[in-house]
Structure formats: structure tokens, C-alpha cells
């Protein structure tokens, strides 16, 4: 208690400081780390012809375009397009621009290859969605070299690659037509647009490159129709499967004449059975047909006849053809057997020979090969070497060269779904876990160097040494728990179904695992992760157990798709057990009970409304049965505008399921009329949040009691018109309503309306307050509002006499059934930026004041003191209020550049911010993720309970030595003086 009082005192002492958070430039990287990723690669184009730095330009599923260094895999530059601006095609034009086609073929941009600066941008309007195709021909002849041909939204455009001007456009938007290829035969002035119409008609348009004139249009119908896409082995021949999937049709369209030739696959391959699939890889003079797991390579001869070249089993990926010197073409194929990759580069002309055959071991945790891109280089002895860029199942990117993996990038980390934390193992005696234990001498040396730096005596070498010591402190990356609780594991679940554990000290990957439960199988077509829960957090009696996490996922996109549950050891990353497929998963409710091994009980609600208890042990069932009828949960149905409360009632009927299944009944429901309101956001307090005190003392010695309930739900609705984007609704039609609902009884505690406001609403709740961010259409600015809730029923406890006589109700149990008398206080402020996400700091004991962490549209994270969002702020606070730390009211929340916790960095594609308390009360750990990752630790009221890293021990030591010397000197002096006195 004394410590708490002391801490409170310290907070009051420090809260008088105005500055919230600030970092010196040389402190960057001391307690934060930043990692950049790009996401799963969709397309890759190599740029290696020119001398200088070799690079590969990639487009990814996170809508990033990036140039990577081929030697180390580092990012040269990266541009993130908008969320709705998916990249369709990418290419290099004129050897100096990267051209990207995005947004379904309607935006064409050119980027400067060396530095990623956008050079021009062109909007291609069209009438109806279609495939997007990009063609950057290189040999039109000197004057036409700079034309880019784009097909998108039903139109063919010719765009100048110098400035992005549209030279001509041509509509090819007949109904039912699906243009699949743009072909430019060598050295000609015409291009061909090939497609299929109504699944049975092959169409070929010959178009002049000069002016877009339609030179010839020919079409021919195949009775029975086609299935799948056209494959184009040469510029005047196409191959496609017919609708039965068992006949290959080779189409030649020389001079506008179309000829079909049909070949039965069973005629090509003996003993063929099963479904055939034409691979989209562009191979010169060949097509690849996938049957089961084997690839059938079929050569297309000049007359259009087909001939089987070879059948290769277990092929995972085939690259496009690559043409290099003297008109030679080659392509690469990857065969995989567990962790062993076999990379073969074949010549398209001569099947027998191959340029390269090498095998490489890769980590089993990378899964299967998904894509391969080929590139060649000239060795010193003038022969050709090949390198392959491989995209794996876990979204990682590998570069294979000379039989070895030159570099790899863990790009799964660009698509994090959920994060949880885990403690590290406790340090055991006699086991040195740190790689380098610092001895005392070195420690002192470091501090002496620091002292020199403070006293401005240090040479630049010394300064560099100091910085190096600070950054590479072995202390922060140890694999054991520390006293302050700064070192933890961040367990992250990615869209690839891979689980990573990152060390908070330096951000390195401690372990990673591609979960078996999340791999594609026949029973589970589209596995995807949903949530991470702490399954087992051992302390006290179960310390020998390793902590574990529960990974929850689903097999499909519907709500009734079967679910996946996987249990993973948090220290080793081993998948302990998995259940898949199980019942559908609608909601996972962690219960406040644990069993004897500290496994937390979870209730999983399926789409039918049955709830299932986990872990499935008799012990857990025992614990649960005792609490049956006491377990409430709520559900928000956004589609039907429904808020419902449920209670777990009894076991399911025997014929349905086992003893771990329970039925629940509806307790209450709140229905919002769909013609006037639409639910857009909800927010609740974090379950693990700790509140230090319920009372809040005012300046006039008045006590306010915070209404602290774990069952408080914040809900925001808007009028149906206001649901669309900004700019499409007038202030008159737009209302924003906010509700505070008790989720046990369904009682609406408070309702407020904002006229002329609309979403998106980002809300965060903590203790007894809720802060939400929305758009005010009248002022045309963003606003943030705070609502604080106080418990009125306890307000009369202020009477000291009553307290003495024991007539207070402070110790009365809080029940949701008693009607709470609450008062709310609210205030609104303008906020400059759009917001992507809002979070709040959380500390171990809840004593430290709070900061809001606001992820802005510029992908930065701003820390804003809660004191700025205090409903008691007035324009002219009294002296007493000022002393309490109430800031004079302003209409806008201040944005101080020093308050950006990400300082000069950006967390590109920011999606969410996670805070977790350290053991040290003053400190909270912050992890922000999007395409980039950023971690830091924050002290919202400064580190009042520990010395900062900057603390200079050497200076302290020096002072002590100086004092000791001084004591001796004065002692000697006084002795002498005494002696003189005596002689006198």
C-alpha cells in the first residue's frame, strides 16, 4: 500500500509536466524496432540487363510495388497503393519505368525504376468490368517503341510510355466476350486481341498499332464449347481445353483464318484419368497440362498438331519462358519432395537437354512452392547461369542461385491477423542463456565512454562505440524473463496460416511454424485464421508447463463453414494438437476459469447457437457445470441490426452431441429499425484491464465513483444514408447515434446523438470512459468525443459520518440486475487526421495515467494524453483545477510532432495497435502492425519507477568518489585545525 501511495505521489509530481513523450534522435532503436515487408508476391519482373545494381520489381497481394536488391533481398524502394487499388499487372517499359495496371484495369501508373518516384498516371475509363491485360512491346521499330497496350474495362488503350497520354482507344466490349490475350507478332504493326465469347466462340481481332483501327475480326465456334483459359504457345497458335475437359483444342489463326484441331488427352497419354487443367505459364512453343500432380508437356507443331514431349511427376511450379541470347528460350520447373526442392531449367527447343539441374534443401516450415520466376545472368566464363525467385506457401520469398538459397524474406509478416503475447521462460540457475554475458569491467567501460560523451570529451569513434553498445545490448535480446517485464514473445498469426514468435527486444523471429491445421486439404478448402487466444498461461503451481496458445480458424468464407482449432506451444512452436474440421465457429468466449494445469476454459459458439466447451476434459466440465446458468454472452448481428444477450442453459440433447455441448437461450434483444439506423461499430473494455481506483476526487474535494463494469458495450449506429463514404451524403440526412449497453441485462444506459455526423467510427473503451472518432459533416472535420460514466448510487458515500458508522454501500456486491444510476459526462473536440485505428495504453496495476494511441492516415502512431480528452476541461479552469492538471479547453486536440511514437518512421498499411503491460508499472509495450511492424515501449507518465537507460552510472560513481575524497580532505583539515587549536 505504501508503494502505491508513493507511486500515486510520483504520478502527481510528474503529471505537472506538460510534455508527454519525446525521444532524442540518438535514442532511435534503443527500445523500438521497425521491420519492413511487402507481402506475398504476385508478379515479378527482373531488371538485370544494365550494369549497376541488379534488382527485381515485384507486385504483391498487399498492393505494394517494390524493387528488391537481388544480392541481399533488401527493399530499394516500395510504394503502397490504396486498399481498393489491387495491382493486376506489372511490367518494365523503356528499361527505365515500372508500369503497373491496377484497380481492375483502370489506373495505369509509371514509376521511375531507380527510386520509385511516380512519373505519370493515366486513368482508363471503360464501361464494364473485364480482364486486365498489359502489353509492353519492345520491337515495334524505332518510332513506336514507347507504346503500352492496355486492355481493361472492355477497352483497348494505347498509351504513350513517355508521358502516359492515351494515343487511341478501342472498345472491345461485346456482350459475353472475354478477351484473354494481347499478342504482338514480332516486327509487325498489328496486334491481336484473342478471346472467347459465350464459352464457345473463339474471337480474334487484328488491330493496327498506329491508330487503333480494327483491321480484321474473325471468329469461329466450337460445338460443345471451351472450358478454362486460352494458353498461347506461339504468337499465332492457342491451345484450350474443351468443355468436357478431356480434349485439347489447338487453334491457329494465321492471317485471320481460324483452324481447330482436337486431340484427346487419353490419346496423348496412356492410362490417363482424372481432371486436366491447363497451366497459365507462358512457355515457348509448348503448353503444360496438369493431371493430378503430374505435368504433361505438349509441344505445338507448326501445322497446329500436338505432340507429347514428356510427363514429369510432382511438379509444383513452372516459370514462364525466358528468352536469352541467340534466340534461345528456357523455362524452369520446380519439383518438390518434402523439404527438398529440385530446380530444373529446360530448353524449350530441345527437351532432352537441360541447362541446369540442382537441388536445394529448404525449411520444411515453408510448405509448398507456389510460384517461380526465372532470370538468367552471364557467368564470368561467358556461360549462362540461372536464378529463380520462388514464392512459397507461407508467403516467403526465396532466391535460388547456384544451388543455394541466397536470401529469403519472411513476407507472411505483412499480413498479420491477430497478435497475442507470451512470457519468456524463467531464468534458471547455472544456465547462461545470453550469448554474451557482459562482465563488470566492460560494463564500467561502457559507462565511462558515456560519461565522456556527456562531458563532450568523446571522439567521434567513442560516440559510435557508445551508440553501438546501446543498440546491441545483450540484455534486451535475452531469452529469459526480466524483472521489468520488457522481454516477451509476440505470437503473431498470419494470413498464410503461419505462426511466428517475435522477440520484443530486437524483433527477431524466435520460431515460426506453418500450422498443419491451416494447410489446404480436401476437407478444408479455404483455411484462414481468425483469432489467437492465450490457452494456457502457467504460473504458481503449473510453472513447469510451457504456455500455449489457441489458434482459431475457419475453413470457408461462410459463417457456417467448419472450424479449425489448433494448440501451439509458445516456447517451442510445436503444434501440440489440432482439431479440424470441427463445428462452425461464430464466437470464442474465454471464460474466467482455469483448470488445474492453468488451461483457460473457452466457450465456442457455433452458427446454430450451440456452445461447445474446451478443453474437453471431465475436470473442465466439472468447473463449468458449477457455473452453469451464470454464463452470459452477447452477440452483435450487423447484417440484421440486432444485439442479443444469451445465457448458457443446459446440456444439448444427447442425440445432437456429446456432454461438452450446451444450449443457450436468448435473454434479451435490442433491434435497431433498419430504415433509420445501421450498426457500424462496437467496442468493449479489454478483459485483462486492471483498474486501480474506483474513486475520482474532484478539485472541490468531491468524490466521483467511476462506473466500472466489464459488461459495458459501446455501440454506434448511423442513419442508412450516412453509411456510404464521405462526400456522398448531406449533413441533414446524417445522424450518428451512440449507445452504452449493459450486456447482461440489455439495458441501454446512455444514448446520445450527433446530428450531421457520419462514420467510420473508431472507438476505444477503458475504465469508465469511451473515446470515439467520427466525421462531422457540418464542420467537415473529424471529431473525437469522450464519454465518462459515473456511478450515482455510490455518490452519497461522501458523508464521512456514514462511512464511520458503516452505513455505506461500498462493500455491497455489484450486480447487473440492480438498476444502475449512472451519470455521463461528455465532450467533443476536433481532430485533424483521418484515423485507421485507436488503442489505449495499459499498465500492470492501472495506476499510470493513460494515453490514446491513434493510428493516423499517414501510417503514424500518435500518443495523446487522456487528459486532453477530459469532459471536465473548461475554457478558463480555476486555480485548483489547474493544479489538478486540467488543461484549458481548446476546440482542437493538439498534435505535437514529438508525440508520434513512431517518430520519423511509418508503419505502412497500418491495421492495428496492440498494447500490453510490462511488469514495471510505468511502462507499457506497444506493437503496431500493418505491412510493416513497429514495436516500442512507452511510459505515459515518464518512467517514475526506474532509472532510464540514459542514467549515467559512471557519473554517479565519480560523484561518490569525489564525495569520499572530500570527506577525507575535510577530516584531515579538521584534525589539523584541532591540533592547532590545542597548541594555541
Amino acid at each position: 500500500m505504501a508503494i502505491r501511495a508513493y507511486l500515486l505521489f510520483c504520478i502527481i509530481l510528474f503529471s505537472s509536466y506538460y510534455t508527454t513523450f519525446a525521444l532524442y534522435e540518438d535514442q532511435v532503436g534503443l527500445m523500438d524496432w521497425h521491420q519492413q515487408y511487402i507481402g506475398k508476391v504476385k508478379k515479378a519482373v527482373f531488371q538485370t540487363q544494365k550494369v549497376g545494381r541488379k534488382r527485381v520489381v515485384v507486385s504483391t497481394e498487399e498492393n505494394a510495388i517494390s524493387a528488391l536488391d537481388l544480392r541481399h533481398g533488401e527493399i530499394f524502394w516500395r510504394q503502397m497503393l490504396g486498399v481498393n487499388d489491387a495491382i493486376d499487372e506489372i511490367d518494365i517499359a523503356m528499361g527505365k519505368y515500372v508500369v503497373t495496371l491496377s484497380s481492375g484495369g483502370s489506373v495505369l501508373r509509371a514509376w521511375n525504376l531507380p527510386d520509385g518516384q511516380m512519373v505519370w498516371e493515366s486513368f482508363l475509363f471503360g464501361s464494364k468490368p473485364s480482364r486486365s491485360l498489359l502489353l509492353t512491346p519492345t520491337n515495334f521499330g524505332a518510332d513506336k517503341d514507347n507504346v503500352i497496350l492496355v486492355y481493361g474495362n472492355g477497352y483497348l488503350h494505347a498509351v504513350s510510355s513517355i508521358d502516359g497520354d492515351i494515343l487511341w482507344k478501342k472498345g472491345l466490349a461485346q456482350s459475353g466476350i472475354d478477351i484473354q490475350h494481347l499478342v504482338h507478332p514480332e516486327e509487325s504493326d498489328t496486334i491481336y486481341a484473342l478471346g472467347i465469347r459465350d464459352t464457345s466462340q473463339f474471337e480474334a481481332y487484328a488491330i493496327s498499332v498506329r491508330n487503333g483501327e480494327l483491321l480484321k475480326h474473325s471468329s469461329m465456334e466450337l460445338p460443345g464449347g471451351f472450358s478454362g483459359d486460352l494458353s498461347l504457345p506461339t504468337s499465332d497458335k492457342a491451345v484450350v481445353l474443351d468443355s468436357s475437359g478431356s480434349i485439347l483444342v489447338s487453334i491457329s489463326f494465321v492471317g485471320g483464318e481460324i483452324k481447330f484441331q482436337k486431340v484427346q488427352i487419353s490419346g496423348l497419354l496412356q492410362g490417363y484419368s482424372g481432371a486436366a487443367e491447363l497451366l497459365p505459364s507462358k512457355l515457348a512453343g509448348m503448353v503444360a497440362v496438369k493431371i493430378d500432380r503430374s505435368l504433361l508437356f505438349v509441344k505445338v507443331k507448326d501445322e497446329g498438331t500436338l505432340e507429347v514431349v514428356d510427363t514429369v511427376p510432382h511438379v509444383e511450379a513452372v516459370s514462364d519462358s525466358l528468352s536469352f541470347a541467340e534466340g534461345q528460350t528456357a523455362f524452369g520447373l520446380i519439383r518438390q519432395d518434402g523439404g527438398k526442392l529440385q530446380h530444373t531449367v529446360k530448353s524449350s527447343n530441345d527437351w532432352k537437354s537441360h541447362f541446369l539441374k540442382e537441388s536445394v534443401e529448404v525449411d520444411q516450415q515453408r510448405g509448398l512452392v507456389h510460384k517461380v520466376f526465372m532470370n538468367n545472368y552471364v557467368r564470368t566464363d561467358r556461360t549462362y547461369g540461372f536464378r529463380a525467385l520462388i514464392v512459397m506457401e507461407d508467403h516467403s520469398l526465396l532466391l535460388l542461385q547456384q544451388g543455394a538459397v541466397v536470401w529469403n524474406r519472411e513476407d507472411a509478416l505483412a499480413s498479420i491477423i491477430d497478435v497475442t503475447t507470451s512470457e519468456l521462460p524463467v531464468q534458471k540457475d547455472g544456465v547462461s542463456v545470453a550469448k554474451v554475458e557482459l562482465n563488470l569491467f566492460e560494463w564500467l567501460k561502457g559507462h565511462l565512454l558515456k560519461l565522456k560523451a556527456t562531458l563532450m570529451l568523446a571522439t567521434p569513434d567513442d560516440v559510435a562505440a557508445v551508440q553501438r553498445i546501446r543498440l546491441q545490448s545483450a540484455e534486451k535480446s535475452k531469452m529469459t524473463r526480466d524483472h521489468n517485464g520488457f522481454r516477451k514473445l509476440l505470437i503473431v498469426l498470419t494470413r498464410a496460416g503461419k505462426l511466428f514468435a517475435l522477440h520484443t527486444g530486437d524483433g527477431r523471429i524466435v520460431w515460426s511454424r506453418l500450422l498443419n491445421a491451416f494447410r489446404k486439404s480436401e476437407t478444408c478448402e479455404n483455411p484462414r485464421g481468425l483469432k489467437l487466444h492465450q490457452w494456457q498461461v502457467p504460473h504458481h503451481h503449473a510453472l513447469n508447463e510451457n504456455p500455449s496458445v489457441l489458434v482459431v480458424g475457419t475453413c470457408g468464407h461462410n459463417s457456417d463453414a467448419s472450424g479449425i482449432l489448433s494448440f501451439v506451444d509458445a516456447y517451442k512452436g510445436e503444434e501440440l494438437n489440432y482439431l479440424a474440421p470441427v463445428h462452425s465457429i461464430k464466437q470464442v468466449i474465454p471464460l474466467p476459469f482455469t483448470d488445474s494445469t492453468e488451461q483457460r476454459l473457452h466457450l465456442i459458439v457455433d452458427a446454430e447457437g450451440y456452445s461447445h466447451l474446451y478443453p474437453r476434459t471431465p475436470e473442465a466440465l466439472d468447473i463449468f457445470q458449477k457455473e452453469l446458468g451464470n454464463i452470459y454472452w452477447y452477440s452483435v448481428d450487423i447484417n440484421n441490426n440486432l444485439l442479443k444477450g444469451h445465457v448458457v442453459k443446459k446440456n444439448c440433447k444427447d442425440e445432437i452431441a456429446d456432454g461438452y455441448c450446451f444450449e443457450s437461450s436468448d435473454l434479451w434483444s435490442v433491434i435497431f429499425p433498419s430504415d433509420s439506423e445501421k450498426i457500424i461499430a462496437t467496442s468493449t473494455r479489454k478483459l485483462s484491464e486492471v483498474v486501480h481506483t474506483q474513486a475520482k476526487v474532484n478539485t472541490d474535494q468531491d468524490v466521483l465513483y467511476k462506473y466500472i463494469s466489464k459488461n459495458l458495450l459501446f455501440l454506434a449506429t448511423v442513419t442508412p444514408k450516412a453509411i456510404s463514404d464521405i462526400g456522398s451524403v448531406t449533413p441533414e440526412d446524417s445522424w450518428l447515434f451512440v449507445y452504452l449497453v449493459d450486456t447482461i441485462t440489455g439495458r441501454v444506459l446512455h444514448r446520445m446523438s450527433h446530428h450531421g455526423c457520419q462514420g467510420p467510427v473508431h472507438a476505444v473503451s477503458s475504465e469508465n470512459w469511451i473515446v470515439y472518432h467520427y466525421f462531422n459533416l457540418r464542420a467537415h472535420r473529424y471529431e473525437m468525443s469522450v464519454v465518462e460514466i459515473y456511478d450515482q448510487s455510490r455518490a452519497d458515500n461522501k458523508d464521512v459520518l456514514k462511512l464511520v458508522l458503516g452505513k455505506h454501500n461500498l462493500s455491497a456486491p455489484v450486480s447487473s440486475y440492480s438498476r444502475p444510476e449512472v451519470v455521463t459526462k461528455s465532450q467533443s473536440y476536433f481532430f485533424t487526421h483521418s484515423v485507421k485505428t485507436v488503442a489505449v495504453t495499459s499498465t500492470a496495476k492501472g495506476i499510470t495515467s493513460k494515453q490514446l494511441l491513434i493510428g493516423t492516415i499517414g501510417d503514424q502512431v500518435l500518443a495523446l494524453d487522456k487528459r486532453f480528452l477530459d469532459p471536465r476541461r473548461t475554457v478558463n479552469p480555476t486555480q485548483a483545477e489547474k493544479e489538478e492538471g486540467i488543461i484549458p479547453l481548446t476546440d482542437t486536440l493538439p498534435i505535437m510532432p514529438q508525440a508520434y511514437v513512431t517518430h520519423a518512421l511509418k508503419v505502412e498499411g497500418l491495421r492495428s495497435i496492440i498494447t500490453t503491460p510490462a511488469k514495471l508499472e510505468s511502462t507499457t509495450l506497444v506493437f503496431a502492425y500493418g505491412v510493416d511492424l513497429f514495436f516500442t515501449r512507452l511510459a505515459p507518465s515518464k518512467t517514475y519507477d526506474s532509472l532510464t537507460d540514459d542514467f549515467n552510472y559512471a557519473l554517479l560513481l565519480l560523484t561518490i568518489i569525489a564525495l569520499v575524497i572530500a570527506i577525507f580532505v575535510t577530516w584531515i583539515w579538521s584534525e589539523r585545525k584541532d591540533l592547532q587549536e590545542k597548541w594555541r
Binding site: Y24, N84, R109, M118, E121, A173, H780, S834
Partner: protein, 211 residues
Amino acid sequence: MAVMHKSMTILLSLIPLLVLCSLLPSALAIASGSTDGYTINGRVKIPGFSLKGSGLAAKSSNVKVTLNSGQRVTFLRPDGYFSFHDVPAGTHLIEVSAIGYFFSPVRVDVSARNPGKVQAALTENRRSLSELVLEPLRDEQYYEMREPFSVMSLVKSPMGLMVGFMLVVMFLMPKLVENMDPEEIRKAQEEMRSQGVPGLSCLLPGAQRSN
């Protein structure tokens, strides 16, 4: 610089489409639906940027322009111009995000009645813009400046204060003692002797209790 013009190109481009497939009224309906888009053109001007020449390209590649809180994102051309195409009529919000600069969001009115009319205003200070040229309101400095070493900072630190106090005791106290009456000193010394010199053990609270 903000020019909002009805994209006539779409109407023109409809003509070949009509020729090509005159039997398809449905395609026409969709096409005419997309013609009520307007174009917003603007320019971002960062002072001191353009003067450096090569430095411009390196930095302005990190500038993003966002329409309606992320509905659309575009980038700057080397000359600082940007544009949003096919924007419906209404009041929109444009935000510029550039590391190191603070830009005010801009309210842009795209009106259906009088195309070509510019209506733009900074939302931070309600200043209306005659042309859509966006300039940063201020630079942002993300780091605290380290103050250069000074004797005062050392003196003000807790250790400095300790040393200072000691010095005061060392040099000023004897002076004070000197000024005192010798009689009084003797008296005080005698008093001290009678009480006994307080040892170190007496200073400790635990030891005191045991006495």
C-alpha cells in the same frame, strides 16, 4: 489549379462502342452511369523542396494524397501535381501525408450545377483556396533536440546538487562558525561532549530502537 471538368472523353468514347454493339442498351446504361464523374486536379507544393532538384525526387516519392480517408490513394508526379478521376459530385476531403510536414486536410466541393468552379478550403484554419495548391502548415520535428552540454545542466543534476551542497557546507559553514561568539562555541562543544558523540550506529533507525 483545381479544374473540375466533366469527362467528355467518355461520351466520345461511347460512339465507337455504339457502332460496335448497337444491340446492347444495357452496356450503354452502365457507361452513362460512369459519366457523372469529375476530375480533381491539384498540386502539392513543399517549400525548399523544388530548389534542391535531385533531392525533390527522393523525398516527394514519399508523399501520398488520400481522398475521403482512404477511399482512394494517389501519388505525386515529379512536378508535384496529382489528380483524382471519376469523383462523384459532393463535398470531399483530401489529405496529404508526408513525413516531416504537417498538412491541413482540404475540403473540396465538387458541384454538379456549375462544373469548373473551384471550392476548396483548409479545414484547420477555414482558409479558402482559390486554387488547389496544398502547402504544409508547418514542419514537423519528431525528435527532441539534445541540449548541448553546459555546466548548469551538470550542476542541476542530483549529483551536482549533492556536490554543491557539500561545497557549501565545507566553505561556508566554517565562515559561519568563525563569526560566532567563542563562548557560545565552547558551550555547544561541551554540550556535545556531555551527550556523547553520535556514532554511525545511532543514525540507523533500527539501531536507535534497540537503544
